[in-house]
């Protein structure tokens, strides 16, 4: 008896120790390496945003460069291209968000109707693939496809359409960017909606059927309401990308002829800020974009918490 009791006390002691100072220190030590990397590569660069308020000259460094207040931001508004670049970014990103939600949802609904297991699996294997290839590789595929003498033009020629210089056309460039982005992501994007579909209670369909609901009515009144929370959450998440029109994609596909319709904030910052060494201007634009993005992300988190009872972070 006594022995058991003593053992019990010991156990309690050990448990307390497990939550005592030693283990606090251990937890801190575990966080340390990662936090050091974040300090150097995330938090220190954040200090670099002071360059946005300077006329930064690399040779003088941040401490030696002169302060110019909001001059960089004023200049940003005065550049004639500013409005165009902002419009390009928002237009391309908006279409990507809209079609990038609708197409995966519709695809998930259609795929859900296919009941032959092996066919479904094969289709899934194929449509998920483009998502894992880089834009470097896919840009080569897209350029080849839309080449002046390429497959798309050959196909159109059978309908008597004259060859189109897709990659050098301000009329077509945005469509190609939006289309190829949806193409890359729709398969992978449908995974989450397929999961949502399997989560809908089959009893609801049975009940609807007994009430004489047609398939179309079942879709409208059972399936879509069941998927709505997840669609809302994904849309909220995607909305945070309204200023991210997809640097990797556009950078690999654009050329000076289509700057008019295809140049976005990120490509501009890279070209003018980094290659053109206008560090202060580039940082100022980046800062503005970052603030808008962070604000949207926080709102999206609130919204998804409210509508879907899910939190992103």
């Amino acid at each position: 008896m006594q022995l058991t009791r003593k053992k019990g006390v010991d156990l309690q002691l050990t448990r307390k120790q497990g939550k005592g100072k030693n283990s606090q220190l251990m937890y801190h030590l575990m966080m340390l390496p990662g936090m050091l990397f974040l300090l150097v590569f995330s938090f220190v660069p954040m200090l670099g945003i002071v360059m946005a308020f300077q006329n930064y000259i690399p040779a003088k460094g941040i401490l030696g460069s002169t302060w110019v207040g909001l001059a960089n931001f004023k200049y940003m508004l005065e550049i004639p291209d500013s409005l165009q670049i902002l419009m390009n970014t928002v237009i391309i990103a908006s279409w990507k968000i809209v079609l990038g939600t609708i197409v995966p949802v519709v695809f998930a609904l259609l795929l859900n109707e296919i009941r032959i297991k092996w066919a479904k699996r094969t289709i899934q294997t194929i449509v998920y693939l483009p998502n894992f290839l880089s834009w470097v590789v896919l840009a080569a595929v897209v350029v080849n496809l839309f080449d002046y003498h390429g497959p798309v033009n050959t196909f159109l020629a059978t309908f008597g359409v004259k060859p189109i210089l897709f990659m050098g056309s301000n009329h077509w460039f945005r469509q190609i960017i939006i289309g190829s982005d949806v193409w890359k992501g729709f398969g992978y994007g449908s995974i989450i909606y397929l999961a949502a579909l399997t989560g809908i209670d089959p009893g609801l369909y049975e009940a609807a059927e007994i009430d004489g609901a047609s398939r179309w009515q079942q879709l409208l009144h059972v399936t879509l309401p069941g998927m709505l929370p997840i669609i809302m959450m994904m849309t909220a998440l995607n909305l945070t990308n309204i200023l991210n029109a997809g640097f990797d994609q556009i950078f690999n596909l654009y050329n000076p002829i289509v700057y008019e319709t295809g140049d976005i904030i990120d490509t501009y910052v890279y070209r003018v800020g980094l290659l053109g060494q206008q560090y202060s201007l580039g940082t100022a634009i980046g800062l503005l974009k970052s603030v808008v993005g962070a604000t949207l992300m926080i709102s999206a988190n609130q919204a998804s918490k409210k509508f879907a009872n899910m939190q992103i972070f």
């Binding site: 939550k19 990397f37 109707e113 483009p130 880089s134 080569a140 369909y205 990797d248 974009k289």
Partner: protein, 290 residues
Amino acid sequence: MKAHTSKTANFFIWLVVLALTASCLLPLLNMVAISFSDSASAAANEVGLIPIHFNLNSYKLILEDSQFWRSFGISVERVILGTAINLILIVLMAYPLSKNKRVFHARNIYMNLLIFAMLFNGGMIPTFIVVKSLGLMDTIWALVLPGAVPIFNVILLMNFFKGLPDALEEAAIMDGASKMTILFKIYLPLSLPALATVSLFAIVGHWNDYFSGLLYMNRAVNYPLQTYIQQLNIDITKITDVSQLSSLASISNKTLNSAKIVVSTVPLLLIYPLLQKYFVTGMTIGSVKE
């Protein structure tokens, strides 16, 4: 449900699904076919899905291309080194963060710092200046260290750890196990699917990234493979007038470039079955409530 699907509806469902599936597969197959064709047919855009004048010349040329293999090697090195660093840091951070505030007092402070770093960043230019002033330019470290902590993946694993029963840890503490023992002997073996997901995300991310190579490598000999391929594609972005654009197909070495692209995707295709197995897990555990 099935009985209600009319034949016409079924036909259209299959038609749309198969068309979308074909759209994902055919352009890629075209690329493969071009890589096995002769240059003349490729330049004349005659190649469809089957190679014309099938030959392995492009692949033989690649074998002799030392820069291609050097870049390939840099990419492999980067994937191994980068993924290892990512995994160690993710695991070490996810464990303390999965504890609540009463157990790990500073937990919320760290969490807020992480979220702040995820939402907000200094941007391309300040990061570039930091990497440059640390003397990392033209070294493999410039490719792996700036992204050493993938915060989204830390949160993903943290959520997975949170789902493990507390009783496991309590039992281990009673047996006198240390935090490290608990993490490595109890938590990790139970988290294999989540770890696989996180590693695969890291591998694909490192393999596919071309931009840090472009930013941080001054000398082309140090380019990882995707940056090397990106430079092959680049002639299209350097073009300034329309006439150049239409003659591009004939001047560029289409078959060789296609073969290089095909070889560069082979490693991804090799791990693709694994990817497919685990990324569904990733998408579902990634969006867990806190």
